[in-house]
Amino acid sequence: MGLVEQTQAALAELFPEPALPAAPAGEGDQEAPPRQAGVVVTDAARHGSHLDVLCRPDQVVAVARVLDQDGYFLEAISGVDWLDKGQFEVIYDYNRLGGEHCRVTVRALVDRNEPAVPTISGVFPAADWHERETFDFYGIRFQDHPNLIRILLPEDADFHPLRKDYMP
């Protein structure tokens, strides 16, 4: 699988310290020591994605630019609300359009009280709507997004429904 190694190498420069190969993504998050930022190869048959990248929020744009050069396209941006750990998580899914298949999942953890992630709509215009939707449901502010307004909920809605502590 030349492509996966090639992408892994391309991404590796962004994370100088070696990634912990031991704990594959999402395996018993609580017990395993929290993973440092890094690239880990995951079993695609089960988890759907070949590479799992955990990075700090400010590296998100750099990762996006690297993947953009390699010809990836942005499939989806999803937010996750880890209420008990007091963190939001933004998951970016990149995939190859045609040719050999390789999906890269980039995850960034952000503090729950003032969630701010730089926008990648400059690199991928597809992110424009996905980020507006994540802001709409979670309240994660994407810095210098062209027009960060609600996309699906009515304009005057003042709540973020997908937060775990949202009581209608």
Partner: protein, 372 residues
């Protein structure tokens, strides 16, 4: 053929296309800033049929979300069922018997043909041709009767279960499917191609209209017939094989022009390919049970799971995060039309209103799938 005209930005007026408009197939609203009949800026406004399926997924168990999947893209509901079943089976590690996989492929491909037929009918209706709609619905009715025999419902199917399908297909279904394929193949050249595809009025109406380049598709994440119309050979059934698709040989129609005519031809050829798949699946249909063993209450292992399925409109992704208990912790539905529509704003600039509608029709939009 968008006439390069200098668009005066001072004398424009804002026209609301939708949310109640015959050409938007549902409640999509596009705010058009127009200069005369030319579109200066188009900005789709979404959310008129938003029901927050993702919160429903978090509140109910895994099995209770299956009926919701059919309410998102009701034209290709079985593919949405298939996507959801696939991601949960991967997460919980459930085996699906061979026969159930084949039945899934047969019913999904039949549903794809029905979806393409309805797209073709609605697209022609947008362009002003009324009669083709009736011919397409005549054929689609045959498919819906077949699927009703097996699944019990006609449009919003809830047929797939984790580990198999709701019930088995019988010989009458198989015979009915073979007759249907023979009938559609007989009608296709005359009623579909001679009456419409080769018609000069239609050709002039959708040829060289709405050019989408491969680079635009990649940057906006457009997949499915929209990408295949612009020369991108990307079909999840081939590139990221799931279920038993590797065992069938079918080819993926790709056109390089990138205009509405190319997307039109991609879908017409796809109907033919789906029929080929169904025939091969019917020939190689194995015996055996249709329902594998699956625990009554699913508690999949905590972790991040993603599954992609090829629906009639593009790649449908389920991003599932589980934390070990019986409800999904987080489910993000990556709907294909959401990304396909996002390039509308950029492509529709400088277009005529009539061309913009022909372009929107060639994108094959289903609004509840965008708004979720």
């Amino acid at each position: 053929m968008t006439v390069p005209v200098h668009l005066r930005h001072d004398e424009t007026f804002v026209l609301n296309l939708g949310p109640q408009h015959p050409a938007t197939h549902g409640v999509l609203r596009v705010k058009l800033t127009m200069d005369g009949e030319y579109i200066v800026k188009a900005e789709p406004v979404l959310g008129y049929i938003h029901r927050m399926h993702e919160k429903m997924a978090e509140n109910g168990t895994f099995a209770q979300f299956m009926p919701n999947t059919a309410r998102m893209d009701y034209l290709h509901a079985l593919a949405f069922n298939h996507g959801w079943a696939l991601v949960v089976e991967r997460a919980a590690g459930i085996e699906v018997p061979e026969r159930a996989e084949y039945i899934r492929v047969i019913t999904v491909e039949l549903n794809r043909i029905a979806s393409h037929l309805l797209w073709w009918a609605a697209f022609l209706l947008d362009l002003g041709g009324f009669t083709p709609l009736l011919y397409a619905f005549d054929d689609r009715e045959k498919i819906i009767d077949l699927l009703e025999r097996v699944t019990g419902s006609r449009l919003t199917y809830c047929y797939l279960r984790f580990g198999g399908v709701y019930n088995d297909i019988d010989d009458e279904f198989i015979a009915g499917t073979r007759d249907f394929i023979k009938r559609l193949r007989g009608r296709m050249p005359r009623l579909y191609h001679d009456l419409v595809t080769h018609n000069i009025i239609l050709i002039k109406r959708i040829k060289d209209i709405g050019f989408v380049t491969a680079e635009q598709c990649r940057r906006y994440g457009a997949t499915g017939p929209v990408a295949r119309g612009s020369g991108i050979d990307y079909d999840i059934r081939k590139n990221e094989p799931y279920s038993v698709y590797p065992e069938f040989d079918f080819d993926v129609p790709v056109f390089t022009e990138g205009d509405s005519m190319a997307r039109y031809m991609v879908r017409m050829h796809e109907m033919e390919q789906s029929m080929r798949i169904i025939e091969q699946a019917l020939d190689k249909l194995p015996g055996g049970p249709v329902m594998g063993k699956a625990p009554k209450v699913l508690k999949p292992e905590a972790g991040y799971y993603y599954s992609a399925v090829e629906t009639a409109r593009g790649s449908l992704g389920h991003r599932l995060v589980c934390n070990g208990d019986k409800n999904p912790y987080k489910l993000k539905l990556r709907s294909p039309t959401f990304s396909n529509l996002s390039l509308f704003g950029e492509v529709a600039e400088g277009m005529l209103l009539a061309d913009a509608l022909a372009f929107m029709g060639s994108l094959d939009l289903v609004i509840p799938e965008i708004d979720r």
